[in-house]
Symmetry: none
Subunit: 244 residues, 2 copies
């Protein structure tokens, strides 16, 4: 038994509605040793007086919680982003169980993020598109009624279980580039494609952008590879025959 390789994952709650649920999530986290809580645009602002009582003593998690305007900012430093969903989605991303996610999180040195959507609606398609993997809890198909704190506790529990069970990877591959570098690459593609009417007609623009983003997220390119692709794009901006 060796210690875990990477830091504990960040738990990211996107547009959580009730302060009580944020508190319950914090409690669920701390039960299994997770402390890094990030909130994206909590509906009722932050801090929220309802969170504390529900946290049942996990105040330290709430006090150190950080608030972000967007999911992209919240996971900017996390190369491995897991988006939790209940329903099936038509996206081309690997779908993992909490157990598989835990193994993945322990196997990398960079910080991972597990992202949870709002209580009722769940994550939006564009938010899922930011993630490298989809995390789904295998659940009774006739009664799928997992609430936010329950989803958090199952993920935290599996992470805690896998802790100490990890074999140190002999030679670790470079981790995927941080999310912000990936965003830079996506933005570079879009900046070149936009004036060339790639996202046309307008009715298909959103879907085309999502497809492109999913494609560029899929490889898990590391920082060097992202930089190489940026170089390729810069080269393609040049006229043939020219150089720099």
């Amino acid at each position: 038994m060796t210690d875990t390789v990477g830091p504990p994952p960040a738990i990211v709650l996107v547009r959580p509605q009730l302060g009580e649920n944020i508190g319950k999530a914090a409690r669920a986290m701390l039960n299994f040793g997770l402390t890094e809580l990030r909130l994206v645009a909590p509906r009722d602002g932050w801090p929220n007086p309802s969170a504390g009582p529900a946290a049942a003593g996990a105040d330290t998690v709430l006090e150190s919680a950080r608030v972000f305007d967007t999911l992209a900012e919240a996971v900017g430093d996390c190369p491995h982003v897991y988006a939790t969903t209940v329903r099936k989605r038509g996206v081309t991303k690997p779908v993992v169980s909490p157990e598989q996610a835990a193994a993945g999180i322990h196997g990398v040195t960079a910080r991972s993020a597990i992202v949870f959507g709002p209580e009722r609606s769940g994550l939006e398609t564009d938010e899922v598109a930011l993630a490298r993997s989809i995390l789904t809890v295998p659940i009774n198909p006739d009664f799928a009624s997992l609430n936010l704190a329950q989803a958090v506790i199952l993920c935290a529990y599996e992470w805690s279980k896998a802790k100490g069970l990890v074999q140190p990877t002999a030679e670790e591959q470079l981790p995927p580039a941080p999310q912000e570098e990936l965003e830079g690459l996506v933005g570079h593609f879009e900046a070149l494609l936009e004036p060339r009417k790639y996202f046309w007609p307008e009715s298909r623009a959103a879907a085309s952008r999502r497809t492109l983003r999913n494609m560029l997220t899929k490889p898990g390119w590391n920082s060097l590879e992202v930089r190489t692709m940026r170089g390729v794009l810069s080269t393609l901006e040049r006229e043939p025959g020219s150089r720099d």
Copy 2:
């Protein structure tokens, strides 16, 4: 994956205090396919009007719940009884994790019971003595604050996992594109990069080509994705402002 051997375990709540917690436990159970709920001397009697709303639709579990005066009666038909505790007890019984309990439950043909104590105090020593094994969730020693429904859901989740429930989201992903399509993509990149002097100086050309090829091989893009990237490249060949 084979089917389970024995019947799903009974979830036994001993002297539960709040109806709301009974409802939450029912909800937790049904999420993972458990339906056999037994109550021992619930504090506020049974049925309890607070249970229904908290069950969030798991009414069928509540309606079929059976009430007993003593734990011994409640587990009378169960040869394998697991008593859940948070703290270590000075008893000479095997202590198992939820995962180990799940394996044990699936491995026997008779019905097993997982027994949970009252919210605050937990099971009494005489009740623990009725059990063959002690089930303990490995938890953060500095913050052990698992509530009743959370303890139930972790046990139900592990039972369900061991049953081999398939991921409901197992949407078949398209396989990677055939090699010749990948070659076409690599060739397309090279054809655009060559006249723009990307592979320059000559001494680094071979390494640059290899890097590019490795990068494009890494994603395992399927045929649709390869075609999309070809479309992106064709677009980049165009002058800004033009279309087709």
